[in-house]
Every structure is written in C-alpha cells, then in structure tokens.
C-alpha cells in the first residue's frame, strides 16, 4: 500500500496542491461575491433585494456539474475563450457564493435592528453602517457556517477533476495512478487520506477562529 504512495509521490503531491489552489481561489470568489449578494439582499431597494434573491435561488438549486458544463463547454461553444481554471474557479466560487450570501444574511439579522437604527441616527450612511457596525459583528456569527461551507467546497472541488475540465486534482491523479498500477484500492485510499487531511485542517482552523473571535458575554 505504502509503495504506491512513495512511487507516485509527485502525482499525489501535485494533485494535492491543485486541489488546495482550487479551493483557495474559489473561497476568495465565494466570499467576495457572497458579500455583494448579501448586501443586495439586505439593501433598502426592493429590486436589488429581488436580484439578490434570484441569484441565491438559482445558484443554490443548480447542480455544480451543470454549472461546470455551462461555464466551460457551453461558453466555449458560444465563442468565449475560457480556460479550465477560470471556469472551475468561477463555477465553484459562484456556486458557494449563494450559500455564503445566505449565511451572511442570517448573520446580519442576528446583529439586531436596534444597532442599525442607532448607527443611522448617529449620522452614519447606509454603506458605512454596514461596513463599520453590522459586518464586523456578522462575520463573527457566520464563522461556523463558513466552516461548513469550506468543507463542502473542498468536497465539491473533486467534481472539477472528474468533469470535462479534467484539472489534475487529487481525484484525477488517483485515477491516473490507479490506471497505471491497477491498484485501485491503494490509490483511492491515499486520495481519501488527502481529502481527509484537507477537511480536517479546515475544521481545526475554523475551530481556532471561532474561539478567537468568540463574543464574551
């Protein structure tokens, strides 16, 4: 079992880093877009709210695999020159952004209306209230759901490797190794270890964050 790992170490290592990069970039996209959509959903304008709601309902209910097909094969056929990395990161990021937006929104509502009203009456503008009063507190309460989303994102990143994008991530490399050695069990076992390391690390990191930013009441 161990000899498969030592012999094909470069494959497993590069696959591990590809998954890490995919997740890291998608995380940035998800947080950025998710924050924007959440801001739309709580904006005082009804049409912005509807737009945000539409985004969330569409991207939350569509399978990631369909998104990957649309963003890669579909756009390429339509004449848009999009690479597998861009398509993969955009799909995973935009897909997760819908969940991030919902998590942030429920975090914002946990802040309490009184604080927002107080801030507005102190003369802060709406964007400033959001940035200085609401979001810092909301981010604290959304750490646990963000942890769940990050773990789900690590798991979902495996879909990118097996879909037609064929980015060489952990799962793709495990398939390459298993095709070359015929040791399906061993190569998939090491891939599982890779994924469990990533999900385990995410769990630990978010636990530490949660402790650090916990509100002392």
């Amino acid at each position: 079992m161990i000899d498969v790992l030592t012999e094909y170490w470069p494959e497993f290592r590069s696959g591990f880093w590809v998954t890490c990069r995919l997740v890291a970039f998608s995380f940035v996209v998800a947080i950025a877009v998710g924050t924007l959509v959440a801001a739309f959903r709580i904006a005082p304008n009804k049409w912005l709210q509807r737009l945000g709601g539409l985004y969330v309902e569409v991207f939350r209910n569509i399978p990631l695999l369909v998104l990957l097909f649309i963003s890669f094969a579909g756009l390429r056929r339509a004449g848009v020159d999009i690479g597998p990395w861009t398509a993969g990161i955009a799909s995973l990021g935009l897909y997760t952004a819908a969940y991030v937006a919902e998590a942030l929104r429920s975090g914002v509502f946990s802040v309490g209306k009184g604080q927002i009203e107080a801030s507005l009456s102190l003369g802060f503008g709406y964007p400033e209230t959001l940035r200085r009063i609401v979001l810092p507190q909301a981010f604290r309460t959304v750490i646990p759901p963000l942890a769940s989303l990050t773990i789900a994102m690590i798991k979902n990143s495996a879909i990118i490797g097996v879909s037609l994008l064929a980015l060489p991530d952990i799962l793709k490399q495990a398939r390459v190794v298993s095709a070359r050695t015929f040791e399906t069990d061993a190569s998939f076992f090491w891939a599982a270890v890779g994924y469990l390391i990533l999900t385990g690390a995410a769990t630990v990191i978010f636990k530490i964050l949660e402790k650090r930013f916990a509100i002392v009441r």
């Binding site: 209910n61 569509i62 429920s106 891939a191 469990l196």
Partner: protein, 265 residues
C-alpha cells in the same frame, strides 16, 4: 446575449423528441434520488443509534465511520465503487434487480452509484438525526426511565418521535443536495439527464437542428432549479411550523452544504 436568446438556438427544444428525451432523463435522476434517500434514512437512523449507544467501543466505531464518510467527496466514493467493486457484485446486481425497475437501473454500474450515494448520505443524515435526538432536553429520557420504560421503549415511544420530527426540515434540505448530487452518476456512464444532454448536443442526433451546449444545459439547470426550489419552500414551511410547535432552535450540524435551510433566521 443575442446568442443566448436567439430562437434558432432554442429550436432544438421543440424538435423531434428532444424535450421528452431530456425530461425522461431527469426522471431517472429523481428516481435515483428517491431510492437513495429511502435507504440512506434507514442506514442513517441505524448509524445514529449506534453512535448514541452506551457501549463505548460501538459508539466510537460508529462515530469514526460517520466522520470519515461525511468528510469524503461524494464523487470520490461513487468513482471508487464504480471502479473498485468486484465484477461478481455487479453481476449479482444485474441478476437481482427486478425487471419492472427503470431501465437505467439494470446496469451493474448503478450499484456503485447507489453504494456511494447511500454511504455518503446515510453518514450525513446520521449526524442530522443525532443532533435532533441530542437537542431534546435530558429530562425526556429520564422521565421515560422513571416511568419504568426500558431504554428501547424510551427510544421507541419518547425520544425518536420527538427527536426525528425536529430534523424533518434538515432532512428535506439534504434531499435537495442529494437531488443535485445525482448528476454525478453521469460520470460513471449512467444515462441520466447529463448524459442525455450530451447526446442531444453531439452531432448526428438531429442533424438538421443543432443543439448548442449552453442552451441545453441551461435548460437542464432550470429543471433542477424548479424542483429544488419547491423542495426548499417545503423545507422552510416545515421549519416554521416545527418552530411554532416546539419553540426550539435547531442544533447546527457541521459540514453540511445547505446550512441555510437548516438554520434560517
């Protein structure tokens, strides 16, 4: 934009029986989801009870099992079972599956898909159910044993009916995730909606009308959005009703994708 909405690019939908072909594929996805959720609920309940067992080694093993399968990518499990299962198992499945079952279920590869879907979702559902049971006040179990109920009786008549009811909304939102995840079985060559979408787009099916990939998959995505949106509405309604009856906030289950439907504010 012009490309997206140009009627020429949507003509494929009304040509031949493309529309029916895709819709039938989508039905296969729903069937796979339905069968998987039934078995995953049964196995998940078993795992949750084992994890709550008072015998330490049993609960430890069940806990490790649940945590491992919950933290692995579903597509990884499906691929592994599709590639790694001995062919005699697949053969046995092909012989065992009843003839009235849908056509897509007849292939031996479906066994791998089902094993992956059920193992993953039963682990997730076990965690959901455990959270539901643990969210009950301790007094419930104590009162049951004070009334002279055995542990099994207490579970059967007091704990499970209350604990599981609380987790119905979370289970429905897991069903949404499962519904989306059924598209993953296309990777192991089961002709459900994704495969059928690719068949429609590939040249030579209806030569005179080309079906652009973008439009075909937007249509398929729309089917999922419609069904899953209705399910999420249902989940939210159940959640509100449950909140009114029990007046409690549900416990959060870590690692789930759809946290929001579980914990809306």
């Amino acid at each position: 934009m012009n490309y997206l909405f140009s009627p020429d690019n949507w003509e494929w939908l009304w040509t031949g029986n493309n529309f029916r072909f895709i819709l039938e594929g989508f039905l296969i996805n729903l069937e796979i989801a339905f069968v998987s959720i039934i078995f995953a609920l049964i196995v998940g309940l078993g795992l949750a009870l084992l994890r709550l067992s008072t015998i330490k080694p049993v609960s430890w093993v069940a806990g490790a099992w649940v945590d491992i399968f919950r933290n692995l990518p579903l597509i990884f499990l499906i691929l592994y079972f599709a590639l790694g299962l001995p062919s005699s198992w697949k053969k046995a499945w092909e012989d065992a599956v009843p003839t009235w079952a849908p056509e897509a279920f007849q292939s031996g590869l479906v066994l791998g898909a089902f094993l992956g879907l059920i193992l993953y979702n039963s682990a997730v559902l076990a965690e959901i159910m455990r959270a539901g049971i643990l969210s009950l006040p301790k007094g419930q179990g104590e009162a049951a044993s004070a009334l002279g109920m055995t542990r099994v009786q207490a579970l059967r008549y007091v704990i499970l009916p209350q604990g599981l009811r609380r987790m119905v909304p979370a289970t429905v939102s897991q069903l949404i995730t499962l519904n989306k995840d059924t598209t993953l079985v296309s990777i192991i060559a089961i002709t459900e909606v994704m495969r059928r979408g690719r068949i429609v787009t590939s040249s030579g099916f209806f030569q005179e009308v080309t079906a652009p990939i973008l439009q075909v998959f937007i249509f398929i995505g729309l089917l999922f959005v419609i069904v899953n949106y209705s399910l999420s509405r249902l989940s939210r309604r159940l959640e509100i009703r449950e909140r009114k009856i029990t007046g409690t906030k549900l416990k959060r289950v870590g690692g789930l994708e759809d946290q929001v439907a579980i914990d809306p504010t």
